[in-house]
């Protein structure tokens, strides 16, 4: 009995070690692939390569709102598949195996976006609650969407709008997301609308912060409206 216990106890550190090695191997593989491929656009520490002469600069990954699993989808399918009008972020599923993509996402979220989960949780906890009345909330969300969001994102939310077309005439290139395809969940849409794109890693400030204009209740209403009525991707 005593020997069995000793044997068991000696096995625990071994299993922990093995599990660490496994994580570490995946992490190291992710790091290797990141430094080999992603670094040229997103920078060594996810801060974005500022020397790139592009209209739309790559996102600062260390501030991205995407979770690890959402990041896997983004790396795999590319930005365009998930609503970006610019196709600067390619689909890496044609380059890497699924496991390699998972390793890259693991590396990014562990190495320089490790504060994301806590940051999102904190901002949500600090926010004021949504309005209780469902009908009122839906009406409010729809009204704000039509009044403000649709001017850039289009009436159906697909990113085609008069504003975008008019801006092109003056060499102002805007790339509002196709909201029918976005990866973000309702809470993330709320946080994105509240703080704006720049806060979540975009170089340009085309997607403004709406927190001065609308309170949390109203922004939550529009986030729910976008999530329920505009977004077509699986909930």
């Amino acid at each position: 009995m005593k020997i069995k216990k000793i044997l068991l106890l000696s096995l625990i550190p071994l299993s922990v070690f093995a599990s660490n090695v496994k994580i570490s191997t995946e992490y190291l593989e992710g790091e290797r692939l990141y430094k080999q491929t992603c670094v040229s656009c997103h920078g060594m520490h996810g801060e974005t390569n500022q020397d790139m002469q592009l209209t739309v600069k790559p996102r600062r990954l260390k501030e991205s709102i995407l979770s690890q699993s959402q990041m896997v989808k983004m790396i795999s399918d590319g930005g365009h598949a998930w609503g970006a009008h610019s196709d600067i972020m390619p689909a890496f599923k044609y380059v890497f195996e699924e496991e390699q993509i998972e390793n890259i996402a693991l590396y990014v979220t562990t190495a320089f976006n490790y504060e994301r989960t806590a940051k999102v949780k904190k901002l949500l906890l600090e926010s004021k609650p949504a309005i209780n009345d469902v009908k009122k909330r839906t009406r409010m969300g729809k009204k704000i969407f039509k009044r403000n969001c649709s001017l850039c994102h289009g009436v159906t939310g697909n990113g085609d709008s008069v504003y975008v077309e008019q801006s092109k005439e003056n060499q102002q290139f805007l790339f509002p997301y196709d909201l029918t395809k976005i990866l973000l969940d309702e809470d993330q849409i709320f946080l994105y609308a509240k703080f704006g794109g720049h806060f979540w890693g975009t170089d340009k400030k085309d997607m403004p912060s709406w927190k001065k204009k609308y309170n949390d209740g109203k922004l939550k209403a529009v986030a729910e409206y976008i999530n329920e009525k505009i977004k077509k991707t699986s909930k």
């Binding site: 009044r147 403000n148 001017l151 850039c152 008069v162 504003y163 008019q166 801006s167 005439e169 003056n170 060499q171 102002q172 805007l174 403004p208 912060s209 709406w210 001065k212 204009k213 609308y214």
Partner: protein, 104 residues
């Protein structure tokens, strides 16, 4: 008697419209210039857009409700101040733009 009243009303309206002033507000660098105006009922405000992108000035205040709509670069749109109540004007695209209009 009726003719006198009608004539004086028409005259009054003419005096009011003759005194009505047009105010110009530019939209430049994602701000209203000027950002505050003091006007009188019956005055008009012309909204210009000097930015290289569109704006959409509007107010939701019931008494002076208006919506310029999508206004391209270089375009001008005029609105009339119909009520004696003060109001604020915003841009539907750029949430930090604000124009305070005081009606005296």
């Amino acid at each position: 008697m009726k003719k006198i009243v009608t004539t004086s009303l028409v005259a009054l309206a003419l005096v009011v419209s003759a005194n009505a002033k047009n105010w110009e507000v530019d939209q430049k660098g994602k701000t209203f210039v000027p950002s505050a105006l003091t006007v009188h009922k019956g005055d008009t405000i012309t909204f210009k857009n000097s930015d290289p992108f569109a704006h959409n000035a509007y107010t939701d205040e019931e008494t002076n409700e208006f919506d310029v709509g999508m206004q391209a670069t270089g375009k001008e749109t005029k609105m009339t101040v119909n009520s004696a109540e003060s109001f604020s004007v915003e841009c539907a695209i750029h949430p930090n733009m604000l124009l305070e209009v005081t009606v005296e």
